[in-house]
């Protein structure tokens, strides 16, 4: 059971930093709180007393969205459900709706935030690989000597390992900025023990842009999670596929490439098989949603993406 003396809801960054300074060493930042409350129960952290809970979801800057055809900026407290119901995000982050629909359930997504998912840094976090495929950066802020200073780094660098990030003491994740990829086809492949409310064993985000004839892969983004301590962008595979015509041979060769990256603590053989199937399925689903005519693909690849 979680208990606290104060539940603070600052309405500006300044107020938030002041609260953090006042309760230094005795606070916990929460956004959606959908992981914090289950964490403070038997079997995980047990009974936890936190003197001050600081809820950042009422800070306007953390709720802001700004979207154009080059960049997307997501306030850290953006609920996951926006990836499904905000049309501008659906258009510019084409793999995200498929990611979001697998994420917990409709009710939790309405409360859980993208920033919380990133800062938790679970090796199975679903939003992170998707955003890494968009070359996301994080914007961090900290108040010192009365001034709010900001810094940026890539999301890939920010997540340093299981449940570990580069976030410093007194620092807040403010926003995520990433490539806007309208016109790409997106897919998100995920496997877990059931459909809803399930943590990924493996997940793969795929984004494909086709040339004008819808024959060649002009650009491709691939990012995978659940196979090692942190999500991984598959840059080598992307290079191998970029500019290539879509053919069964090419896709099969690409699908074979990432198996050697599997470094999970458990079930490596299983994950290697999943990764191969997901690569095929992800590339096929993303290409199809980008407008590719896939009738030329061998029937066995069709089965793989069913």
């Amino acid at each position: 059971m979680l208990t606290c003396d104060n539940y603070l809801t600052p309405s500006s960054l300044d107020e938030a930093f002041d609260a953090m300074a006042e309760h230094r060493g005795h606070y916990r930042i929460v956004a959606g709180a959908t992981d914090t409350l289950p964490w403070a129960r038997e079997g995980r952290a047990g009974d936890v007393h936190i003197p001050a809970m600081i809820d950042v979801t009422k800070i306007p800057e953390l709720r802001q969205l700004s979207v154009n055809d080059n960049r997307v900026r997501l306030g850290a407290a953006t609920p996951i459900q926006r990836f499904l119901d905000d049309r501008s995000l659906v258009r510019t982050l084409p793999a995200m709706p498929r990611c979001a629909v697998w994420f917990a359930d409709d009710q939790i997504r309405a409360q859980a935030t993208v920033g919380g998912n990133i800062v938790n840094a679970s090796p199975a976090a679903d939003a992170t690989p998707c955003l890494i495929a968009h070359a996301a950066e994080v914007e961090l802020a900290k108040k010192s000597d009365g001034n709010i200073g900001r810094r940026r780094m890539t999301l890939d660098q920010f997540v340093t390992g299981p449940n570990r990030t580069a976030l410093e003491d007194g620092e807040l994740l403010i926003a995520i900025e990433c490539d806007s990829l309208p016109g790409y086809g997106g897919s998100f492949e995920k496997v877990g023990h059931r459909r809803s409310l399930v943590i990924s064993l493996v997940c793969l985000a795929t984004l494909v842009k086709l040339d004008a004839q819808s024959q060649r892969i002009e650009d491709v983004r691939l990012s995978i999670a659940g196979i090692g301590p942190k999500p991984l962008r598959l840059a080598e595979v992307e290079t191998f596929l970029r500019g290539a015509a879509i053919s069964p041979e090419r896709l099969e060769q690409a699908a074979d490439m990432p198996a050697s990256f599997v470094a999970s603590r458990t079930r490596q053989q299983y994950r290697r098989e999943v990764v191969r199937g997901f690569m095929l399925r992800g590339l096929i689903n993303a290409s199809r949603s980008a407008g590719a005519d896939l009738t030329m693909l061998a029937p066995e690849l069709e089965v793989a993406c069913a």
Partner: protein, 625 residues
């Protein structure tokens, strides 16, 4: 602890009062406003019994700190219809028989309401997807989906409102008719009170201290610091039991709280009654128990070996119950068989996972009658046992069975009612205990894990000549229903098949694992799993169709079972016919199918693990626009 000034609009009324900063929205609406329609099934966002609308968006109120709901408009299940009335969805749940235990139903109705608000034309797949955050353990979901589809069609006008009325049936004519459940309106509206929803003036809240050890001697328990805490009314241990301590279904081997030693992780050691659950919980931390750990045993095979740790003095070999059955002579049967197959089968412990965690309320009434209200599946037996334990005449003990929010056998054991009685007697105030989901999982019975060695001899034409089974079950730390489970497992082990030579041994064994107990099918699942799997393997070896091998051996009308019960009529062959037809079975030995199955990749096969039904719906809508 400072209060949290909380203001919101709840079910159409402005609410302004003090809450606590650590409260969840669920605590506030249930405990402070006594709106108990929405339930707490897990407290971790997994089950959806607590789903409420916050500014029109469905949320899990167990995951929402109260402060997040500040200034919002909240609708609980009580807001869906006026008292005495039902919404279209609630009527459809009533009509479709979608409520059984009812505990998940308020949340399920809320999720269905949200689904049809999001898409009034949602198809069945999309309905499933949108109800994905709500769990039901009774219905298998199909009737729930039927109800949502029915409500959708009535709302859209493609079904007349009369579809929600009760089907007409002749007086007394029930077979094959859709009869509405009498208790459904109270369940779909959330008005039915389960034990955790009940309050009484002066109610005290109970928390239980549980063993961290699998096997340990209790050297001392010091409750003085806990008893001295403000707000703590009583602390009890086994020393507070006035009568003959011990309960069980077949053997009274389990004390109300651990006496002298603990035998499994999660066993109750002491209990506290206090003014609120938080004080009671903090008092648990002030109870000092000194343990001396003992060697423990976790495997039934090891537990039966000489020198293994002994759990109960009365059973030095750790055997709870051994049921032997002998018919004919299996050695002769094997000798005359053309094929002998031996395999080993194992099953795991299974949690019942009813949506309602255990809860109970107790008080001593005006006549001095100790009264226990709880979702108890065996009240009469428990009443007799409790009278002996608290040394009162049977006329001074009363059990009231509250609505059972799912039991499946898991609420047959008197696991916590004894503690409630003792605390009500000690404090002379009403007391209530509500388990957390975690507590329910660690402390209550599971299905018996089993390890079965099965040897079967058959003639080449498929007739079973000999059946020999030895099943070892892990009964855990206490007897509970183990004896009955072993008995039924043995009786049904050889299946509904005519077999001249049978040798069956089912053995339940004490270990330091969580106790095993009653669970739907009561032992038949473990043995049927072995026997039926085995028949498939034998069919494959003999080149027979699995249906055929069962028909060859099937008992017919008038058969005598292996335990000499005469069966008037046997429906097995009719059941086999029906299953064969419904499953689209393609005749042949098990080796003849596989990749060549004609139904693979057909439209009738549902793709596995597909989410995203809403995208297809959105595409269809865009195309229409």
């Amino acid at each position: 602890m400072p209060d949290l000034q909380f203001t919101a609009t709840i079910n159409g009324r402005k609410v302004s009062r003090n809450g606590k900063p650590h409260q969840r929205l669920l605590d506030f609406i249930r405990d402070d406003l006594n709106l108990t329609g929405n339930k707490e099934g897990c407290g971790a966002g997994e089950c959806g019994t607590c789903s409420v609308f916050v500014d029109g968006v469905l949320m899990k109120s167990c995951l929402m700190p109260l402060a997040k709901a500040q200034g919002k408009t909240i609708e609980t299940v009580e807001a869906l219809a006026k008292t005495g009335e039902l919404s279209v969805l609630q009527k459809a749940f009533h009509k479709a028989g979608a409520s059984q235990c009812g505990y998940c139903i308020p949340g399920m109705v809320m999720a269905a309401t949200a689904a049809l608000r999001a898409n009034p034309f949602a198809d069945r797949e999309e309905i499933k997807e949108r109800l994905g955050g709500n769990i039901c353990r009774c219905t298998g979901y199909q009737k729930i989906f039927d109800a949502v589809e029915m409500a959708r069609d009535v709302q859209n006008g493609s079904l007349p409102a009369t579809a929600l009325f009760e089907d007409e049936a002749e007086e007394g004519d029930f077979i094959g008719k859709n009869i509405r459940r009498i208790d459904a309106p109270s369940k779909v509206s959330g008005r039915l009170k389960y034990a955790a929803d009940m309050i009484m003036p002066g109610l005290l809240h109970v928390q239980v201290l549980r063993s961290p050890h699998a096997h340990a001697r209790i050297l001392s328990i010091d409750t003085s610091a806990a008893e001295a805490m403000d707000g703590v009314e009583a602390v009890i241990t086994s020393a507070d039991v006035p009568g003959e301590d011990g309960f069980g279904v077949f053997v009274n081997d389990q004390p109300v709280m651990a006496r002298g030693k603990v035998r499994y992780v999660g066993e109750a050691v002491a209990a506290v009654a206090a003014e609120d659950p938080l004080i009671a919980r903090r008092a648990l931390g002030a109870i000092k128990v000194v343990y001396e750990t003992l060697p423990a045993v976790f495997d039934p095979d090891e537990a039966m070996r000489p020198g293994a740790p002994v759990l109960h003095d009365y059973a030095p070999d750790n055997v709870t119950k051994h049921i032997p059955i002998r018919v004919g002579d299996v050695e002769n049967g094997f000798a005359e068989s053309d094929l002998v197959v031996e395999e080993i089968y194992s099953t795991q412990p299974i949690e019942h996972a009813y949506l309602e965690p255990e809860a109970g309320l107790a008080y001593v009434d005006h006549d001095g009658v100790v009264t226990i209200v709880s979702p108890d599946q065996n009240v009469t037996h428990h009443r007799h046992m409790l009278a002996r334990i608290i040394a009162k005449p049977i006329s001074k003990v009363r059990f009231i069975m509250s609505p059972v929010g799912g039991g499946f056998g898991g609420k047959e054991d008197m696991i916590y009612q004894g503690m409630l009685a003792l605390l009500a007697m000690k404090t002379q105030r009403p007391v209530r205990l509500v388990f957390t989901r975690e507590e329910s999982i660690v402390s209550t019975a599971k299905r018996h894990p089993s390890r079965t060695v099965l040897r079967m001899g058959l003639a080449s034409d498929g007739r079973i000549r000999a059946f020999q089974m030895k099943m070892l079950c892990d009964g855990g730390a206490y007897g509970l229903s183990t004896e009955g489970v072993m008995r039924k497992a043995a009786i049904l082990a050889a299946g509904p098949y005519v077999i001249p030579n049978v040798k069956i041994d089912t053995i339940g064994v004490y270990t330091n694992n969580t106790p095993s107990g009653a669970f739907r099918s009561f032992g038949a699942l473990q043995t049927a799993f072995a026997t039926e799997s085995h028949l498939d393997i034998c069919a494959e070896r003999l080149g027979l169709d699995p249906f055929q091998i069962r028909r060859i051996n099937a008992m017919r009308d008038g058969a005598l079972t292996h335990t000499k019960a005469k069966l008037g009529s046997v429906s097995l062959t009719r059941a086999l016919d029906a299953v064969e037809k419904a499953s689209g079975w393609e005749t042949g030995a098990p080796v003849s199918r596989g990749a060549s199955r004609s139904d693979l990749n057909s439209d009738e096969i549902r793709p596995p693990c597909a989410l995203g039904a809403r995208f297809a719906a959105a595409e269809k809508q865009e195309a229409a626009e």
